[in-house]
């Protein structure tokens, strides 16, 4: 009996040790970035580097914010994220509702037609055509182009989650409202939308993550105008420009500025992150 207990304790500690190793692996690069962002450029570029900076140079952040345009990049990122989140919440609840409650002919066909985009999404291959489409309406040099593509291009995962969620709301509720004279849109506005809070939280967080982290799409839309770049694009722009070697400290400060909001939101809402990001997988 005590032999068995000892064996179990040993086995459980092995599990904890293994998982802790992966905790370190998951965390180390982020911690390293955080620490490096307080190093002077000299320290970053010389050998004998230590994890903890010799002196914490807070100036990196002040310089990045004031001189390297990171205040503008942050503003752009917030702008992009806010409209992508609002758009995603509207588009997924509206389409989810119409596909769940609507009874028009061909509903299923249209739904699966839209879902099929999962299989025709070609990633980077369609960047150029997308940019040209937006050029036709003169939105190729503005983040509005990105927002329109993201919102109206529909995220299939969000659509799936939304339709599933709204279908799970008992339809007796809207039957009652209908008797009281509520229209189809009215039921959405007054009854369904207010009942969608958990759905909205999930969709909002997923949309925030992709808008905040996106690189290629906003990059091609801001190529010629650095003042419109969001954070990730701005950081990468600094890396690829000639000033890279002399500006690692600013770049790292910028990286941390882009990482912190994401991580804070993740810590606060990790349950929505994990359930939202896996919801698409179950259906797909």
């Amino acid at each position: 009996m005590s032999m068995g207990k000892l064996k179990r304790i040993l086995r459980n500690s092995a599990v904890y040790i293994f998982l802790s190793a992966f905790f370190v692996i998951s965390f180390f690069p982020v911690f390293f970035t955080f620490m490096s962002s307080f190093k002077s450029n000299m320290e970053i570029l010389t050998t004998g580097n230590r994890l903890i900076p010799k002196a914490f140079v807070v100036e990196n952040y002040i310089k990045a914010w004031k001189m390297a345009d990171f205040s503008i990049y942050t503003k752009n990122s917030v702008f992009l994220a806010v409209f992508c989140v609002l758009g995603a919440v509207m588009s997924s609840t509206i389409c989810g509702y119409a596909f769940s409650r609507g009874k028009f002919k061909g509903k299923e066909i249209v739904f699966y037609f839209m879902v099929s985009s999962m299989f025709v999404s070609l990633g980077t291959l369609t960047l150029y055509p997308l940019l040209m489409e937006m050029k036709a309406v003169h939105l190729n040099k503005s983040l509005w182009g990105v927002i329109i593509i993201r919102v109206f291009g529909m995220n299939v995962t969000n659509l799936f989650i939304a339709r599933g969620y709204i279908t799970s709301i008992p339809s007796e509720i809207d039957e009652a409202a209908k008797i009281d004279g509520c229209s189809f849109v009215g039921i959405y506005r007054r009854i369904i939308f207010p009942l969608c809070k958990p759905l909205i939280a999930t969709v909002a967080i997923l949309a925030f993550r992709s808008a905040w982290n996106d690189y290629m799409l906003p990059m091609v839309f801001t190529m010629t105008d650095t003042k419109r770049m969001p954070l990730v694009v701005g950081v990468m722009h600094l890396k690829s420009s000639g000033a890279a070697a002399s500006a690692w400290n600013l770049m790292l400060a910028g990286t941390v500025i882009s990482l912190v909001p994401m991580i804070v939101i993740y810590i606060a809402f990790n349950r929505f992150f994990i359930s939202g990001m896996t919801a698409g997988a179950v259906k797909g």
């Binding site: 459980n12 904890y16 998982l19 992966f22 905790f23 998951s26 690069p29 982020v30 390293f32 970035t33 970053i44 050998t47 004998g48 580097n49 994890l51 588009s91 509206i94 119409a98 596909f99 609507g102 009874k103 028009f104 002919k105 509903k107 249209v110 839209m114 985009s117 299989f119 070609l122 990633g123 980077t124 291959l125 369609t126 960047l127 150029y128 997308l130 489409e133 329109i148 109206f152 291009g153 529909m154 905040w212 982290n213 996106d214 690189y215 290629m216 990730v232 950081v235 990468m236 890396k239 690692w248 790292l252 882009s258 990482l259 994401m262 990790n270 994990i274 896996t278 997988a281 179950v282």
Partner: protein, 303 residues
């Protein structure tokens, strides 16, 4: 007038009007780009002026005179296969451990998932600094534990650079796959294990006889998403190696992107890039098709 009003009031009309803008957007942003590529793949077009029809010339060029494109496609496949060979078993192992009934495991679930929420471009940037050739942190760590005496230049040969790409990509993705597997594991009814332990099945046998067959259908979907996702890798490569050294770590997506936009010293060749995009799209479809055919059996367990 009265009829029009009742049309606007009808449920079906309203439902269609709610979907319509998104349906149009969806066609514009999912299908029109494909038509665009199809149209320009058979032309010579530099992004301005007129596109001249050249028939199959672009495709002849891809197949006969562009070894770099094929290298990038091979790189994509090698990188995907290599990193998935590590990532998928690792994610499954971690999921099995997290599925144990032990205290504090939710802490690990949340922290091990964290890399997933970071931008791929930022991950590339962080890893390029971590592994930087002379003063990088990984070099310092290896030196301090006595594994090396001279710093390694991780980015001076193709295969070293590819290895770093693989490591960064595994780091980025093992968390999400771990969570997918964990979900799959949690869907297995406990009674099955109870029965098995009465029959004396333990440990590894239990894993191969019960766990794996039970999660087979979900496993198939997880692997499909992982394969397609890694074949489409782009941001990470751009920010980590950008094809260096000497364009040898280019992947299909970065190679084609650079032809569309004239990056890395390439000319802007919309027609030619479209032809490559078309070939790559067909390749992606083919991989998906073959995969679904080959793994059909896995899905049958579901019944």
């Amino acid at each position: 007038m009265k009829r029009k009003k009742s049309l606007i009031k009808s449920d079906n009309f309203q439902a269609i009007m709610m979907i319509l803008p998104f349906l149009i957007g969806f066609i514009l942003f999912s299908y029109v780009p494909i038509i665009y590529i199809l149209r320009y793949a058979f032309t010579d077009y530099a992004g301005f002026g007129k596109a001249t029809f050249t028939g199959l010339a672009n495709f002849v060029r891809v197949f006969q005179r562009d070894p770099d494109f094929w290298q990038s496609l091979v790189n994509t496949v090698v990188l995907s296969a290599g990193k998935l060979a590590v990532e998928i078993p690792l994610a499954l192992l971690l999921a099995i451990l997290l599925n144990k009934k032990l205290r504090g495991l939710s802490f690990f679930r949340v922290t091990l998932f964290m890399p997933t929420i970071i931008s791929a471009a930022i991950i590339g940037l962080i890893f390029s600094l971590l592994f930087s050739p002379f003063q990088g942190m990984i070099n310092e760590i290896l030196k301090s534990i006595g594994l090396i005496t001279k710093p390694i230049n991780f980015f001076d040969t193709k295969w070293k650079a590819m290895l770093i790409l693989g490591i960064a990509s595994v780091w980025q993705n093992y968390g999400i796959n771990m969570i997918f597997f964990l979900m799959a594991l949690q869907s297995i009814p406990q009674e099955i294990y109870d029965c098995a332990s009465i029959d004396g099945a333990t440990g590894i046998r239990r894993f191969f006889k019960i766990t794996l067959p039970m999660i087979a259908p979900i496993f198939q979907s997880i692997l499909l998403m992982a394969i397609v996702g890694s074949l489409k890798v782009c941001d990470l490569v751009i920010s980590l190696t950008n094809g260096q050294p000497g364009g040898t770590t280019e992947v299909a997506m970065t190679y084609i992107y650079k032809s569309f936009f004239g990056k890395s010293g390439r000319n802007i060749e919309i027609g030619y890039a479209s032809a490559m995009a078309l070939i790559t799209a067909i390749f992606l479809a083919l991989v998906t098709f073959v995969y679904l055919k080959a793994t059909k059996k896995l899905k049958e367990y579901e019944a």
